[in-house]
Symmetry: C2
Subunit: 195 residues, 2 copies
């Protein structure tokens, strides 16, 4: 997706070989126009897949998910990272290990919002080691609903998440694929750009 | 806002005199069509206010904010919640006490995303005791930017936040105003409805 790559080039910051900071438009500050384009792009890719629900994780996955949900005409379920006081009974949960934060957390959804007949599209901002996506898949696998695929805004292809998911037979779509990061330099799968 | 009230009546749950559960369309599951209408409504109210930035708090404030940002053509800054913060450069922070969760947390934004000339609209999902909004205002008050007003999706008027903010001279707009809650019953400021 060209608009996204352009944004990564002009406003992203490659801090080192692992971290791409996209706080300017995706994580901390959000560009609603870009999010709308991202939503259209995901919707285009999954238009014929019979999606009935989008599942994402708070909080960076929410914006692209809501825009995709608007395009596809389906609701968005946001998995929470910890249990809240008003959400207890009928809870599905999964453990997720974050390599970035080096900590284990529990994500959860209320089972009442997933029907047996649901066909779920999982959306997240980043795909790196795939732990968050595997946790979201785990939640759905505890129900009778099916998973149509996984849409991520940015995939760090040099980390193992994408390959692991595809090897499992899961459909994975990334709007920007990053082959390599170095301080100040992002290499997309098909081109190398200094930022 | 009639569509919102209808949604609260049909899908909300008044658990007791304090808690209105709107997990079905606002907090946990998100209805993107309703969010778009909410965005249009806030944009309508602040169209002439010269808004240059929206500030909200993760994660339930993100959807209404992004839809409002899309309508107004401005970016959305999402304050993050952290339990404890080691001092980082360029970070503005404020303490917020949550009566719901009964815990103190720190919220923060990166100062690079607020310019002196910014005119900020603060958006959140609920206004109850006003702690979150006061924390967001505190962040902006540490800069030279101005605050145009506060837009909340649902105001619990029987709690003191709204009055406190209006007494300070802050413009506060709520799309649904709840006068009273009882188990199974929501009373809006102008009508009483059983849900």
């Amino acid at each position: 997706m060209e608009e996204l790559k352009k944004k990564i080039i002009t406003e992203g910051k490659a801090l080192n070989e692992e971290v791409l900071k996209v706080d300017a438009f995706l994580n901390h500050q959000i560009d609603p126009v870009l999010m709308k384009q991202i939503g259209k792009e995901f919707a285009e890719q999954y238009r014929e897949s019979g999606i009935t629900k989008i599942l994402t994780l708070e909080s960076s996955g929410i914006s692209p998910s809501v825009m995709t949900g608007l395009e596809l005409g389906v609701e968005v379920l946001v998995a929470r990272k910890r249990k809240s006081l008003t959400l207890q009974e009928g809870l599905l949960s999964a453990d997720v290990y974050s390599f970035t934060k080096q900590e284990q957390s529990t994500i959860c959804i209320s089972s009442e919002y997933i029907k047996d007949s649901d066909c779920v599209l999982i959306i997240d901002d980043f795909l790196a080691n795939g732990q968050a996506v595997l946790g979201l898949m785990n939640l759905i696998e505890q129900t009778k609903a099916s998973i149509a695929g996984v849409g991520v805004v940015i995939e760090k292809q040099f980390q193992k998440g994408g390959e692991e998911l595809r090897n499992k037979g899961v459909r994975v779509d990334a709007l920007a694929k990053i082959e390599r990061l170095e301080k100040g330099k992002v290499s997309f799968t098909d081109e190398e750009v200094h930022i």
